[in-house]
Symmetry: C2
Subunit: 470 residues, 2 copies
């Protein structure tokens, strides 16, 4: 017999005090509603522990009485992993677990409480003269616990890796309230299974990350940034191989954009004029980070070679910081401008890097067959094989009706992704949005292993029920 | 009732044919004996499957009848993970699973069968104009399956990461014979738990890796290599921070060596003369990899700055490939020269990078207290916090008697390592050598999680019993 709200709230108040619990429906709105307003379920309460000991107390109680707990960090996730599904859950927000446990610039790591926002983490690194190179659009709100729980990516994965690779160790409260003490700052540690990487990306289903040790990197001396005209995704891929061969891991961004995205930005007043001197079907934004003591000018030499090789027909290299910003805006506005253009159907997919051109060609064709007039707007991290494969509604179409037909577009695109050995969730995870899809596409042995691990670490199914595994 | 050898051998012959099974004690010698000759147990048989289907058949049978299986790759492990412990085991050697499934230089990855040696993997990468940057002393014999199973490290972890970070996906046969198909070449994939990283480093206790997709990197244009005199490990650490700030991830090696290691090499004729113009208590070997199109001379500028800052008192920058080789020999002979100097007690440990000087100071003092006259020879990957903390016997001492007192030295060193938040096995793993130590030092919640995962994925305890978890 599950506990009622009348039993849950007083029990939480006893553990956390009056100010540690939110239970009025109106007050919970900011916790149960998520960025895209797709999921509309209520929670029993929101628990706001201030310390790891309080997180532990809540979990011991929840595991004892069988109350379901949803770990929530910045509430910026896009797949509903951090909001209710069954309405019997308590949201455990780690937003009050804020603080710096340790910063060691010389050794290249810092340890932060998991409620610290990503922007604050950037500032802490910056204050120490270093850099934490994980950049996502929601970094002002996203918190370290969620960034790790969802294994966030962003624009510099190419060179620095995703959240998993940027994390040396975590502390986590497990389903039964025990504390996994894995906060080490070691570059090498072969004493047993890789529990850190299991917790990172488990979307709050295996444990609640309460603190993390994160890698710090030296700040580059300068950035060299260019926006280049390329004829096709194939040419972009060839350019990528050339750039990477020249720049190695100083190549920190390689982003693809289609002409239609530039057209949208011009039309909706988000861009004053064409970014390069000639129009192009495709563009890439390339950035090289020049290390301290490294030679400047590497990008312009590389661009010259690419021009001579016929890979690039036109382009612009940023001469000033504001020019660099303008080029990045052209990339970063791609998502927002689509909402100004009407309804859009989105796919966060990845394929092996070499298969990106085929993904775009076949995926666009399949979607256009499913919905005549649909306008493909594929853009993103070509260097990671990770394309935000978005589709804007046909011009003049009804947005609602278009969205009602989204499943046919999803099916068309995911079929191509699967055929190319790709992933149906490159960055955003599974949450509650893609559990059905996961069952269809994932290797059945992998699913079985995941279920076995979930049962082993959370035998009562307390943490984030129904998420990831469905 | 466990099966007898008389039952096991015919069953294996039925699955693999006569040439797929080795069962005579003499013929098994190469499989049951390991590099350091510490472990001396026999096996029931050695199975030599040629295909993944044959691995699967052996595992289905073993899981059915309850025969213990030890996965073995190149048999180069140093902690006895790949050799018998109970004498009821069958060794399953993946040495015949050799081959290239795919190489895609442009996309930066290759997929190899797990029996391929690390040297062959280097050659395959090289033939494709790329580089697979994992270098260990045993690379001629070590095989990909073992490199991943033990999460091998080596000298370039600093820049490229260890085996785990160099692997994009694996295929593995699980304890029940099912095949985990995780061979993707994706840079980003957030569809569920990180099973790849769980299998990597699990030392054959969770599954048998049969193939892997590995990252390829552009070959650097050139290497700039120096051997530098530094006053102390503290000065070396300061130099490391400076070098890393200047060179970023083009700093591909930073290795510390004590004077005694140079003395040994001179004494035993492994080095003709002092490597630098003045003697020094400590040395570092620094290497920068210059990317294609990158500027040369970065190292000499950095060394000049370090000299001006008083961090470096003397040194030599390699002008030719043979000079570079000579500098690397000085580093790579450190281990071998110790065996020429008599008995030595070894520790493969890591601490947070900033704590390396304290580790060396306190660890040396503690060991000298335990065994007066003992000669500390700490060397290795300072940039990873990973020190091979070795101790040579007192001059003129009896080697056997010295080794009999090894436990006191281990206890002294590991106590310091633990106090500094370090790892008692940075590179080599746990195997059968360190299971007792693991129980003492590992976070009890982590141990409990590891046991739960082992039971979940191998409920009958078929794979590599007694290893890692004891």
């Amino acid at each position: 017999m599950p506990l009622s709200k009348d039993q849950i709230v007083p029990a939480l108040v006893q553990l956390l005090g009056e100010t540690g619990v939110v239970s009025e429906v109106g007050d919970m709105a900011g916790y149960v509603s998520e960025p895209r307003h797709r999921f509309h379920k209520q929670a029993q309460a929101v628990a706001l522990p201030r310390t790891v000991a309080e997180v532990q107390a809540v979990m011991e109680w929840a595991n004892e009485v069988g109350v379901h707990i949803i770990p929530q960090a910045g509430n910026t996730g896009l797949v509903g992993g951090q909001v209710p599904l069954f309405e019997d859950e308590v949201i455990l927000s780690i937003s009050r677990l804020k603080g710096v446990r340790n910063v060691d610039a010389a050794a290249g790591h810092m340890t932060l409480d998991a409620g610290t926002t990503l922007q604050e983490a950037h500032d802490i690194a910056e204050d120490a003269g270093m850099m934490f190179p994980l950049y996502i659009a929601s970094q002002g709100s996203a918190r370290i616990g969620g960034v790790l729980g969802s294994n966030a990516g962003g624009v510099q994965v190419l060179s620095y890796g995703n959240a998993r690779e940027l994390c040396l160790g975590v502390e986590a409260v497990m389903a039964d309230g025990s504390i996994y003490k894995g906060l080490n700052a070691l570059r090498k540690d072969n004493t047993g299974y890789d529990l850190k990487d299991l917790l990172v990306g488990s979307e709050g289903t295996l444990g609640i990350i309460t603190a993390a040790t994160l890698k710090l990197f030296p700040k580059p001396d300068a950035h060299e940034t260019a926006l280049l005209n390329v004829a096709s995704p194939e040419a972009a891929l060839e350019l990528f191989a050339m750039m990477r061969a020249r720049a190695g891991n100083t190549l920190t961004a390689f982003e693809l954009m289609p002409r239609i995205g530039i057209d949208f930005q011009l039309k909706h007043g988000m861009m004053a004029q064409d970014p390069t001197a000639e129009m192009s079907d495709w563009y890439v934004l390339v950035e090289i980070s020049v290390p301290k003591g490294g030679a400047a000018g590497g990008l312009s030499q590389a661009v010259e070679s690419a021009f001579e090789a016929g890979l690039v027909s036109n382009g612009v290299i940023a001469e000033t910081l504001s020019q660099r910003e303008a080029l990045w805006n052209a990339r970063e506005q791609m998502s927002e401008v689509q909402s100004r253009e009407g309804a859009s159907i989105k796919h966060d997919v990845s394929v092996p890097v070499a298969a990106v051109p085929e993904l775009i060609a076949r995926g666009s064709e399949a979607a256009q067959k499913a919905v005549p007039g649909i306008r493909p707007v594929p853009f993103g991290h070509l260097g990671d094989g990770n394309i935000h494969f978005n589709f804007s509604q046909p011009e003049g179409a009804d947005g609602m009706a278009f969205m009602d037909g989204a499943d046919a577009v999803h099916d068309a695109v995911y079929a191509v992704v699967r055929d190319l050995g790709g992933s149906v969730s490159a960055e955003h995870g599974i949450g509650q949005l893609k559990t059905g899809l996961l069952k269809q596409v994932k290797d059945p042995v992998a699913l079985k292993m995941m279920k076995a691990i979930k049962s082993a670490l959370d035998p009562k199914g307390i943490l984030n029920p129904g998420k990831v595994l469905g």
